[in-house]
Symmetry: C2
Subunit: 303 residues, 2 copies
């Protein structure tokens, strides 16, 4: 049906950082059995994913859905060439991650004062005190650390996030030893000019990834714009599951399938098999009891 | 919550060509009462729309939903400065349109042989015999004619549509006297590189509009790309209603609200009031008995 047409200024290859098992499932009310989670991760690897954020070592009180992190990691067959990062909120989480011999972790920072208070119970400034020992110990143990920066474009309480503030938070995280920043539009309000301005403010896109939510239908256009600004790592969630609990909408992360449809059409390599992704999302939708919000999944699973 | 950030290469102003009352409603199974259609058109004008494709003079046998075209046009209060084009399939339709003193019409051509046969019962070549007298008589009567070119990127039977074939069809329609071409991705499969290649193949974007469907989630990214290639008129449907009967999906036209969210964020003027559009779509969703597929409408009508 299609043949690729390239577009000036795009990378030849894009790394899709899959967040479905962690960022997607953590917002699901119904607890998914650990066997199904392990199958989800295995299916994602089978579809060609090379980075799958698998779970979180957050305290089970906060995210009961991910209380089975150890059991899940024990069940996941780690394929050579595939990374299985896990989210780690603090030193206690790091201890659990190191005990499970994870190869990569991610920390979750805030670009705004109010979200730092609500999500981390910290000030914008004091969040770094929490991350500093986590990153230092992880790096000393040979474990790479990614940093999420959330609310990079606006938050629901403060309005637009000043770009210099995002850059400062990001640079401090890189300074602690993180290898990559994932710039998150946690409430999905960004538009392409803002995306370009933020990436340019960092001076170089080399250590930046982007993480868009589709709350207002902007995720894919913003991603395209970020790619044209030099970013080559994109966060996405197979089936488009997930979403910010602070946004009153069923729509969540950028759907991996919608991204891959675009990148396949542009001739940009991802190593992903769209058919297998759609199969996985269709299976997952059955498990979760509701249709995938991905347009591609909706179209191809009915066709 | 937001302040605009511009992006290089975008126009300062975009004309949104609203297709909801015609392209949107024609695919609705349940017949909408003519009073409600008139209110829909009035609400669209009240939200700032300057071009509203109002109905179609197609034979009622083919599209029973639009059998009330005369009655609707009689009820619509035509505001100064607002254009109310109608679709006209043939000379009989033109007679009806002229009798109602419409100021603008649109014809609907195919870029592919198979769709010409299925939709027009014509060959790719002989469709021009049908359009020629319609355009000539309309122009002679002082009525402007827009031409839709459907299946510009692929069709379900022939696969990808060769770009030179689309350009030839388009240029012949311009040659007949049409003032504008609306390049349609009727089945929603296009990606940004293909969009740019097609627009560039025309030599100039000046008389081109774009018409994307969101079947695979690509409509807004493709629209952004078309704007960066110089196009300044974009077709959209308030609430995202409509869709190609040949695509097995609930998703239809690019939603006006999702487009306006992006353009507002980019500081591109449309003259449209997003809040009033969302109100209109929420009202229409109640009338149609199902939620709007627009992400913006979903987010803002729940928030």
């Amino acid at each position: 049906m299609r043949r690729p047409y390239g577009l000036e200024g795009l990378p030849h290859q894009v790394t899709v950082y899959e967040v479905g098992p962690r960022d997607g499932l953590q917002n699901e009310a119904a607890v998914v059995p650990v066997e199904a989670k392990a199958e989800f991760v295995a299916r994602l690897a089978g579809a060609g994913h090379k980075v799958i954020e698998t779970t979180s070592f957050v305290h089970p009180k906060w995210v009961p859905q991910l209380a089975d992190a150890e059991e899940l990691l024990a069940r996941v067959e780690r394929r050579p060439g595939v990374r299985y990062p896990v989210l780690v909120p603090n030193e206690r989480g790091l201890d659990r991650a190191l005990a499970m011999e994870v190869d990569e972790i991610a920390v979750f920072a805030s670009a705004t004062e109010t979200f730092a208070a609500k999500n981390l119970n910290r000030s914008l400034e004091s969040q770094f005190d929490m991350f500093e020992p986590v990153v230092a110990r992880a790096v000393a143990a040979g474990v790479r650390v990614r940093a999420y920066v959330s609310m990079c474009f606006a938050d629901p309480w403060e309005g637009p996030t000043p770009i210099p503030q995002v850059v400062e938070v990001g640079e401090r995280l890189l300074g602690l030893g993180c290898y990559e920043l994932s710039l998150g539009d946690t409430i999905g309000v960004a538009t392409p000019g803002h995306v370009t301005a933020l990436i340019e403010a960092f001076g170089s896109p080399d250590r930046l990834a982007v993480h868009f939510h589709d709350t207002y239908g902007q995720a894919l256009g913003n991603t395209l714009t970020a790619l044209r600004a030099g970013v080559t790592t994109v966060d996405a969630s197979t089936g488009g599951i997930g979403g910010c609990p602070y946004a009153e909408s069923a729509t969540g992360n950028l759907a991996t399938e919608d991204l891959v449809w675009m990148l396949d059409g542009l001739g940009v390599e991802t190593g992903l098999d769209l058919g297998k992704l759609v199969e996985t999302s269709t299976w997952l939708a059955g498990l979760l009891g509701r249709p995938s919000p991905s347009r591609v999944v909706q179209a191809l699973s009915k066709g």
